[in-house]
C-alpha cells in the first residue's frame, strides 16, 4: 500500500491526472459539503435541542425523541397513516406499472403512440395534479362519483371522509403508473432473451409458466429496486396532503412529512422537526434493510449461483 502511494506521487503523469480530476470535481464536492453534509450534521445537533431558528438553541439531550415516542399522539398517528398509505400504494402501483409495461411490450401497430400516451400523465407536476384530483374526487360533481352514479352506485366522500381519504390518495397515485416505472419495467422485459420463452414452449408450458418461471425471475432485480424506491417515496408523501387536505379530515391524511413540516414551519420547532427527520431516516433505513434481507430470497441476478 505504502509502495503504491509512493509510486503514485513519484509518477508525475498520474499525479497530474489525479489533481486535475480533483480540481474538476471540487465545485461539486464543495457544494455537497456546504449544502449537504453541513446541514445534515447540524440537524443531528438540533435534534438534541430546543430550537426555533430565530433564537439560540438549548441543548436538551434526548428529550425530543422521548417526547415523540412517549407523549406525542400525532407522531404515532402520522406513522400509522404513512405505513397504511405505503402498504396500500406499493403493490397497486408496481402491479399497475408492470401490467402496463407488459401491454405496451407487444409488437403491435402504433405501440409507440400508446407508450407516449401512457407516459404523458406522469409529467404533470404535484400541485397541478392535486388540484385536478380534488375536482375528480368531488363527491357531488366529480368524474369518479358521476361515473359510479351512472353505474348505479353511491360514491364515497373521498377526501372529505376519514375512511376514504387515504385510499383516494392511493388511487390518485395510480395516475402515474405509466411513467418512469413503466419504462424501466419495459426495458427489463425487452432485455429478457427470447430463447428462454422458447424453452418453456418446448417444455409445453403456457403463458403463466412463462410469466412465473421466466419473466418474473428475469425482471426481479428491477422489481426489487422499485419496491425499495417506492417505499422511500411513499414515506416522503407530502404535496398531495398539503394541497388537498391539510392533514384532515380527523388527521386521516396527517402523513409523517406533513407533520414534520407543520412542526418546522408553522410552529418553528426546528429541534423537534429535526428529531422527526432523523427518526424517519431510521425507519426508512430499517425497512430498506429488511427488504434487502427478504430480497435475497426472491431476487435473481444473472450470473449469480444460488448457495455459492
Amino acid at each position: 500500500m505504502k509502495n503504491t502511494v509512493q509510486h503514485f506521487w513519484n509518477n508525475p503523469l498520474k499525479r497530474r491526472e489525479a489533481l486535475t480530476g480533483y480540481l474538476f470535481i471540487s465545485p461539486w464536492v464543495l457544494g455537497f459539503l456546504i449544502f449537504g453534509i453541513y446541514p445534515i450534521i447540524m440537524s443531528i445537533y438540533y435534534s438534541l435541542c430546543q430550537y426555533d431558528v430565530l433564537r439560540v438553541p438549548q441543548f436538551i439531550g434526548l428529550q425530543n425523541f422521548k417526547e415523540l415516542l412517549a407523549d406525542d399522539p400525532y407522531f404515532w398517528k402520522s406513522i400509522w397513516n404513512t405505513l397504511y398509505f405505503t402498504v396500500l400504494r406499493i403493490p397497486l402501483s408496481i402491479l399497475g406499472s408492470l401490467l402496463l409495461a407488459v401491454l405496451v411490450n407487444n409488437a403491435i401497430r402504433g405501440i409507440r403512440f400508446f407508450r407516449t400516451i401512457y407516459f404523458i400523465p406522469s409529467i404533470v407536476t404535484g400541485v397541478v395534479l392535486s388540484v385536478l384530483w380534488m375536482w375528480m374526487f368531488n363527491p357531488q360533481y366529480g368524474l369518479i362519483n358521476s361515473f359510479l352514479a351512472f353505474m348505479g352506485l353511491k360514491g364515497p366522500l373521498w377526501l372529505q371522509s376519514p375512511q376514504w381519504s387515504k385510499p383516494a390518495l392511493v388511487l390518485m397515485g395510480l395516475w402515474s403508473i405509466g411513467g418512469g416505472r413503466m419504462l424501466v419495467f419495459l426495458a427489463a422485459l425487452q432485455g429478457i432473451p427470447q430463447h428462454l420463452y422458447e424453452a418453456v414452449d418446448l417444455d409445453g408450458g403456457g403463458w403463466w409458466s412463462k410469466f412465473r418461471h421466466v419473466t418474473l425471475p428475469m425482471i426481479s432485480p428491477v422489481l426489487f429496486l422499485w419496491t425499495v424506491l417506492e417505499v422511500i417515496f411513499s414515506f416522503q408523501i407530502f404535496t398531495e396532503a398539503y394541497v388537498m387536505t391539510k392533514g384532515g379530515p380527523l388527521d386521516s391524511t396527517l402523513f409523517y412529512n406533513l407533520y414534520l413540516y407543520f412542526k418546522a414551519f408553522d410552529d418553528f420547532q426546528m429541534g423537534y422537526a429535526s428529531a422527526l427527520a432523523w427518526l424517519l431516516l431510521v425507519l426508512t433505513l430499517a425497512v430498506t434493510l429488511i427488504q434487502f434481507k427478504i430480497g435475497k430470497r426472491w431476487v435473481y441476478y444473472e450470473g449469480e449461483q444460488r448457495g455459492a
Binding site: Q50, L54, V56, M134, N138, Q140, Q160, K246, P249
Partner: protein, 457 residues
C-alpha cells in the same frame, strides 16, 4: 515540473474566472444612482400583482433623504423568506406581513419600536385598539398595523326572497341564523344539496380558502370565555362554557346531515367558485374587502351586510386580521425604515392609498376609517362598528399555531362524532398546555443566553 505547475495554475485560473462570472451574474443588484438618499429595502407579501405599492411611490416622490426599494415576495413563501433573511443577518429594513406579530416578536425576530414611538411622540390612539393590542408583546410595541379586515355577516337577498324570508331583516341572533338556515337548504331530486343557509362548522381548510371566521370562536368571544389565565401560562380550554357552546354548534350543525354537508362544501373554491359569490351559501361571515371580491366576480349579486349575530342579550364580536409593518432584527436602516412605516399609517396617506387600491382593506388608522371619504362606501359603517367589538386572535403567542390547530381539531372531532365535547376540549387543552410549557421553559433559557435585540440609535 514547472510545466505541470503552470498547467495546474491555468486550470485554477479557469475556475477562478468561472466563479467570478457566476458571482457577477448573481451578485445582488444595488442601485448605482448618484443620489445620497438612504436606500431602505422593503419586502411586501403579495398574491399575484407585483406592481409598486402606492405608498412607496408617494413616499419616494416626497422624500429627499430616504428612498424605499420595494420587493414583492410571494405570499405563501413570505414567512420562510423572512425567517431565512433574519437568520442570515441580511434582512430587509421593513417587512409587511399578515400572521400574528407576537409569533415573531416573542422569538426576537423584530426590533421593538418603542424608542421611535417615544421620540416622535407617535399618537397610538389613532390606531384601532384591537389592532394596536395585537402589535404588542411583553409591554413593547413591535409592529405598526397598516390595514385590517373587519368582519360582518353577508347575506344573499335573492336567496332570502326565494326562501320566503324578508331580505331586509337579516338574522340578529344565532338562533335566528339557525332558523333561517333551515329554510335556505335546497336539494336536487337525487338528494344532493345545491344551497345551504349557513355553516356552523368550517373544518381545517374552509376558514382560509373562504376568508371566513369560525362561528364557535365568535360565540366564545361573545360569551367572554377565557381561553387562558390572565398571565397566559395556563390553558383553560376545557370549561363548562366551551362545552355548552360546542354542544350548540354540534346541534345546529346536525340540521343538515354531515355527509351531505361535506359533499356540498367540497365544491367551494376561489374567485367565482367561492361559497358566497357562487350563490351556494346564503349567509357567511366575511371581511370588509369582500364587496370588492363580489364586484369582481359576481357584479350583479343582490346581497346585504349586517352585524355578526350573537346570543340573545350578548354583544356582537368580531376578530381582527391585521396587516402590519415591522423592522426585522438585523435591519441596516431602522430609523429610515421607521420614517416610512410612520408615513404609511398617516391618515391622509391611508385615505389616498385606499383610493388607489383595487381592494377595500380597512385602514388601521381610525381617523382614516371614520373619514367621510371612506365611510360613504357601502357597508363601511357596519365594518367600522364591528371593529369596536373586535378581538385579537393572538391568544397564546408562544404556542400560537398549536392553539389554533388544536381548536380546529377539537371541533372536528366533536362534529364527526369521534369525541364528546368535554373529552375533545380536554385533549386539546393538554396538548396546548404541553406545548406552552415547553415554549415557556425555552423562553426562560433564551432570556439568560441571548441579548434582546435593541436598536442602535
Amino acid at each position: 515540473m514547472l510545466h505541470y505547475l503552470w498547467k495546474i495554475l491555468k486550470i485554477i485560473g479557469l475556475f477562478a474566472v468561472l466563479l467570478m462570472t457566476i458571482a457577477f451574474l448573481f451578485w445582488p443588484q444595488h442601485k448605482t444612482n448618484n443620489d445620497e438618499r438612504i436606500h431602505v429595502r422593503y419586502w411586501y407579501a403579495t398574491g399575484q400583482k407585483e406592481e409598486l405599492p402606492f405608498t412607496v411611490r408617494l413616499f419616494n416622490e416626497m422624500q429627499d433623504s430616504i428612498f424605499v426599494e420595494a420587493v414583492a415576495i410571494p405570499w405563501q413563501e413570505s414567512e420562510k423568506k423572512i425567517l431565512t433573511a433574519i437568520l442570515s443577518d441580511n434582512p430587509p429594513d421593513i417587512v409587511d406581513h399578515f400572521a400574528p406579530v407576537v409569533k415573531w416578536a416573542s422569538r426576537m425576530g423584530l426590533y421593538p419600536l418603542d424608542s421611535f414611538i417615544a421620540a416622535d411622540q407617535f399618537d397610538s390612539t389613532v390606531i384601532f385598539p384591537a389592532c394596536w393590542q395585537e402589535m404588542q408583546w411583553q409591554g413593547h410595541v413591535f409592529a405598526m398595523p397598516t390595514a385590517t379586515a373587519s368582519y360582518a355577516l353577508f347575506y344573499n337577498k335573492e336567496m332570502f326572497r326565494q326562501a320566503g324570508l324578508d331580505p331586509d331583516k337579516p338574522p340578529r341572533t344565532w338562533d335566528e341564523v339557525r332558523q333561517y338556515a333551515r329554510k335556505l337548504v335546497r336539494r336536487t331530486e337525487r338528494g344532493h344539496i345545491t344551497q345551504m343557509g349557513f355553516l356552523f362548522h368550517l373544518g381545517r381548510t374552509l376558514k382560509v380558502s373562504q376568508q371566513t371566521e369560525e362561528p364557535l370562536l365568535l360565540m366564545a368571544w361573545q360569551k367572554q370565555v377565557p381561553f387562558t389565565d390572565p398571565q397566559k401560562e395556563k390553558v383553560l380550554f376545557a370549561n363548562e362554557q366551551m362545552v355548552e357552546l360546542l354542544n350548540y354548534v354540534l346541534e345546529a350543525n346536525q340540521d343538515v346531515p354531515l355527509p351531505d354537508q361535506l359533499a356540498f362544501v367540497a365544491g367551494f373554491g376561489y374567485g367565482d367558485q367561492h361559497a358566497f359569490t357562487s350563490g351556494r351559501l346564503a349567509m357567511m361571515i366575511l371581511p370588509g374587502n369582500f364587496p370588492d371580491h363580489i364586484a369582481a366576480y359576481r357584479p350583479g349579486l343582490d346581497y346585504g351586510v349586517s352585524v355578526i349575530p350573537s346570543f340573545e342579550g350578548f354583544p356582537t364580536a368580531s376578530s381582527t386580521a391585521t396587516w402590519w409593518m415591522a423592522i426585522p432584527r438585523g435591519a441596516k436602516h431602522p430609523r429610515a425604515a421607521w420614517e416610512f412605516i410612520k408615513f404609511v399609517v398617516d391618515k391622509e396617506v391611508q385615505l389616498q392609498s385606499l383610493q388607489a387600491m383595487d381592494e377595500n382593506l380597512f385602514p388601521a388608522n381610525r381617523l382614516a376609517a371614520m373619514d367621510a371619504s371612506f365611510l360613504y362606501k357601502d357597508f363601511n359603517q357596519i365594518f367600522l362598528d364591528q371593529l369596536n367589538y373586535a378581538h385579537s386572535t393572538s391568544i397564546l403567542p408562544l404556542a400560537h399555531d398549536t392553539f389554533w390547530r388544536e381548536f380546529t381539531n377539537a371541533v372536528e372531532r366533536v362534529v364527526h362524532g369521534k369525541q364528546q365535547p368535554w373529552d375533545a376540549l380536554k385533549q386539546a387543552e393538554l396538548i396546548i398546555q404541553n406545548e406552552l410549557n415547553r415554549a415557556v421553559a425555552y423562553d426562560h433559557y433564551v432570556r439568560e443566553h441571548m441579548q434582546f435585540p435593541g436598536i442602535a440609535q
